[in-house]
């Protein structure tokens, strides 16, 4: 065998191995989804989809059990929207500052710091939220307990921030230099260039950053379970305790009888979560592709 053919063979193998890895990752996702469907669907033999999605009470271990996840969906949405309201403005502003304004030294320091924030385990963030943030919020608003949706939102905002900042910063840095030069040549000030030209050109990337940040928030479990109080009621304000979809699965899976209705209901919640994150990631992907055009 000539060295040339050997090299070709090697290349062929590497190529196929990479292809296989790629295919596998998709297959895994499909298998997970099929598994969720198989385990979750048995719930709908005794329960209508409408009762499940829009039922107002979640008493899974009572007799007869009630599997209404509307309070859980509302809980997840409230915490997520709250976290987005906090982390998106701060995250985007931080990304603009790092990419456009900060001097080089500061920029490197800030980037490293934000990446470090992503490395803190969620249980640690949850612990800090429970011990320090909860009592503080309780005293600030004079409410009976500090374990509320707002506490969850603030805690999760910290976890979404690294994702938002780093992806938005990439998008801003990717804006061609000529745009900035053209803007300055037209007599725009630094602020006008940053806000009207660069931020606008990077908008699809920023939307993607926000969506991925939100995806992280809605799937987060541990921190949320520790700080939101987990009361399964439909919240009327952000200062009330809520129970999220993820915390419900984590808290109850250990006790549910395998193969029973409760077990199936938890898997059905998994399906709902999967669909939500799938939609969010889908939107993010669409915007990312638009930004690459």
């Amino acid at each position: 065998m000539t060295p040339n053919r050997l090299r070709k063979l090697k290349e062929w193998f590497i190529e196929k191995a990479i292809l296989l890895s790629g295919v596998f990752s998709v297959v895994f996702v499909l298998l997970i989804f099929l598994f969720l469907l198989r385990e979750g669907f048995s719930l709908f033999r005794g329960e209508s989809v409408g009762d499940f999605l829009f039922g107002k009470s979640w008493y899974p271990i009572s007799d007869p059990p009630r599997f209404g996840i509307l309070p859980l969906i509302m809980g997840s949405l409230l915490v997520t929207l709250g976290a987005a309201a906090i982390s998106v403005p701060i995250g985007i502003a931080a990304a603009l500052f790092i990419a456009e304004i900060a001097p080089r030294r500061l920029k490197e320091g800030l980037k490293a710091g934000i990446e470090l924030l992503a490395a803190i385990p969620s249980v640690v963030i949850g612990f800090i939220g429970m011990i320090t943030l909860g009592p503080w919020i309780k005293n600030l608003f004079h409410i009976p307990t500090g374990l509320t949706a707002l506490t969850g939102s603030v805690t999760l905002a910290f976890m979404a921030m690294p994702t938002i900042v780093s992806i938005a910063e990439d998008a801003i840095t990717a804006v061609p230099r000529q745009y900035r030069e053209a803007a300055v040549a037209m007599g725009a000030t630094k602020w006008q260039t940053t806000w009207r030209i660069v931020a606008r050109a990077a908008r699809p990337g920023m939307v993607a950053a926000v969506m991925l940040g939100i995806g992280r928030v809605i799937g987060e479990t541990m921190a949320v379970m520790m700080v939101t109080g987990n009361a399964a009621m439909i919240p009327s304000s952000i200062l009330q305790p809520v129970r999220t979809l993820t915390a419900t699965i984590a808290a109850e899976m250990g006790e549910s009888v395998q193969g029973g209705a409760h077990y199936a209901a938890l898997f059905a919640i998994g399906i709902v979560l999967f669909i939500i994150t799938f939609l969010i990631n889908g939107v993010a992907d669409i915007y990312l592709h638009r930004s690459r055009r």
Binding site: I18, S21, G22, F24, S25, F28, S57, Y59, P60, I61, S62, P71, M130, I131, P135, K138, P144, T145, G146, L147, S166, I167, L212, M225, M226, G229, N230, A231, A232, M233, Q240, P241, R243, A251, E252, M253, G254, E255, S256, V257, Q258, G259, G260, L288
Partner: protein, 292 residues
């Protein structure tokens, strides 16, 4: 996109985790080892028994893990453990599933646990009846002043539904042992993941009320004296009162085996029920099955 970079290592990790897990469970099934799994309430107790037992029989290894009573019974059914620890009695469907798998689950009471109802030390109340507790925890009473306390909204704390403690409290306090009752925890009750989390919240919240095993009682929380009804005396949650059954909220802690215990399982249970084993129960702040 950063996400895609992690796909290959991620897939490899999953595969590795899968293989490792398969390997471990096979290793643990040696003849002279004992797997105990179940109730989080009982983990420390089980661990103490295991250590004392292994000191007496050095060739045996006993491993104790938690996860909740339901996790324990699930493991017993799938034969990944030899003894399940439960802080509640078996549910009828669990017994049925065991029979389906071909064995009759044997429940043995190995210790008792009193559940203390605790409030912040600043709370002026120090005693309540069972009926008042049911009113508070099911949300019929929402302010302390309605039952003679200060004007403060009540913050109800409960364990999560994966906890045997939660189930016991609902059946015996909220429903008063009445099987027909439909009483539930108040929808706005905070569900906390551990007894320690309940203690932490009670420590810093003057309006809070929660429950946990009496081993957790500390000076930073005030345990209430409880009366069966308005005519009965109020009783403090102490070991003596639980043994004499004067304290109304106490429950058995169980070990469940596949069929009649045999061999090592029987040896271990024998040790647990011996005076030496029951002394360990007291050391871990639970209540022995019989007076020692």
């Amino acid at each position: 996109m950063a996400k895609k970079r992690w796909v290959i290592p991620g897939a490899l990790f999953c595969l590795a985790a899968f293989l490792v897990q398969g390997g471990c469970s096979r290793e643990n099934r040696q003849a002279s080892s004992l797997q105990i799994k179940g109730s989080d309430t009982m983990v420390n107790l089980g661990q103490a028994w295991a250590e004392a037992f292994m000191k007496k029989a050095p060739s045996v290894s006993v491993a104790v893990t938690g996860g909740g009573s339901g996790t324990g019974i699930a493991a017993l059914l799938s034969k990944t453990c030899d003894i399940a620890e439960l802080s509640r009695e078996l549910k009828p469907e669990e017994i049925a599933m065991a029979k389906e798998k071909g064995f009759d689950p044997k429940q043995i009471t190995v210790a008792l646990d009193g559940l203390a109802v605790v409030v912040h030390p600043a709370n002026p109340l120090s005693q309540l009846t069972m009926e008042q507790l049911a009113d508070i925890f099911s949300g019929r009473v929402t302010n302390w002043k309605e039952i003679g306390g200060s004007d403060l909204p009540i913050v109800v704390l409960s364990r999560e539904v994966n906890s045997g403690t939660h189930v016991y409290f609902k059946e015996h306090v909220l429903r008063g042992g009445d099987k027909e009752s439909q009483a539930e925890f108040a929808a706005n009750a905070l569900m906390l993941p551990s007894s320690q989390a309940i203690a932490d919240e009670v420590d810093q919240n003057p309006g809070a009320v929660g429950y946990y095993g009496m081993g957790y009682i500390s000076p930073r929380e005030k345990a209430l004296a409880v009366a069966k009804d308005a005519a009965s005396p109020y009783v403090q949650p102490t070991i003596d009162n639980v043994v004499s059954q004067a304290y109304p909220i106490s429950r058995p802690l169980l070990m469940v085996t596949r069929g009649q215990p045999q061999g090592l399982v029987a040896d271990f249970l024998g040790f647990v029920l011996s005076p030496e084993g029951q002394k360990i129960v007291v050391e871990i702040d639970f209540v022995p099955v019989k007076k020692i």
